[in-house]
């Protein structure tokens, strides 16, 4: 007796679509966070530290354990009126 394989197509479609959506979302979040899982429950302290990380490395998730800051770090947190050089 022929097996009604056409009835299984919707299940296959759902699985593929959920899988694709999940994979793409995972890839997108990982890509935005330099390959690491995203931070969650970020409070004001974490926001401040991530802003500092961006000033030190150029990306809010960038990390470095250098003992001294790169030159220009001291003045990077605020804008000054720059004269056109």
């Amino acid at each position: 007796m022929p097996v009604p394989w056409e009835a299984l197509i919707p299940f296959g479609l759902l699985t593929v679509m959920f899988g694709a959506a999940g994979t793409l979302l995972n890839a997108s979040t990982k890509g935005q966070n330099q390959g690491k899982p995203p931070r969650y429950h970020i409070d004001r302290w974490d926001e401040m530290m991530m802003k500092r990380d961006e000033q030190l490395t150029g990306h809010p998730r960038g990390q470095t354990s250098d003992p001294v800051a790169p030159p220009g770090f001291e003045t990077r947190s605020t804008w000054y009126g720059e004269r056109a050089p």
């Binding site: 354990s65 770090f73 720059e82």
Partner: protein, 154 residues
């Protein structure tokens, strides 16, 4: 290139309002949030005197000019400890802060690298992690053999 984000200038930024010449210069700490969180308790143990001085000075007055000297001492002590940690325990330090970075900076999810780092720090520099405020007779949470709050998978 001017290091301000959004700046189009190609010349380096010259600070138009530098600190007065009589204020000593100190290099700022270059460690970001992950390594700092990993080293936090060791900074507390190593730099306790300078940190307490700064905190008590700030308690007297919130004016930024009042505590510049104590602040410089805190920065120098932290820089000194990070240099020593990198010299002696670089592998364990890197493993721990990389684990923290992958786990939303939660200590309870990174106990295994933390134990190796604590062992290395005690052996090389004599510093231990103590959690202030642990009730007497109770094991500190980082030394519990079977903690209640842990990662879901081993």
């Amino acid at each position: 290139m001017s290091l301000q984000s959004g700046s189009q200038s190609t010349k380096p930024l010259v600070d138009p309002t530098p600190m007065p010449a009589d204020v000593p210069k100190v290099a700022e700490l270059g460690a970001t949030s992950g390594p700092l969180k990993s080293a936090a308790f060791f900074i507390g143990a190593y730099c306790k005197d300078y940190n307490d001085d700064f905190m008590l000075c700030k308690n007297e007055s919130r004016d930024p000019a009042h505590c510049l000297k104590e602040g410089r001492r805190v920065t120098r002590c932290a820089t000194d400890l990070i240099t020593k940690m990198r010299e002696n325990c670089l592998a364990q330090f890197d493993a721990h802060w990389n684990c923290l970075e992958r786990n939303n900076h939660e200590y309870y999810l990174c106990r295994k690298p933390e134990r190796t780092l604590n062992a290395c720090m005690f052996e090389k520099l004599g510093l231990t992690k103590t959690i202030p405020g642990t009730p007497e007779g109770q094991t500190p949470v980082h030394e519990l053999k079977s903690p209640l709050f842990k990662a879901i998978q081993k």
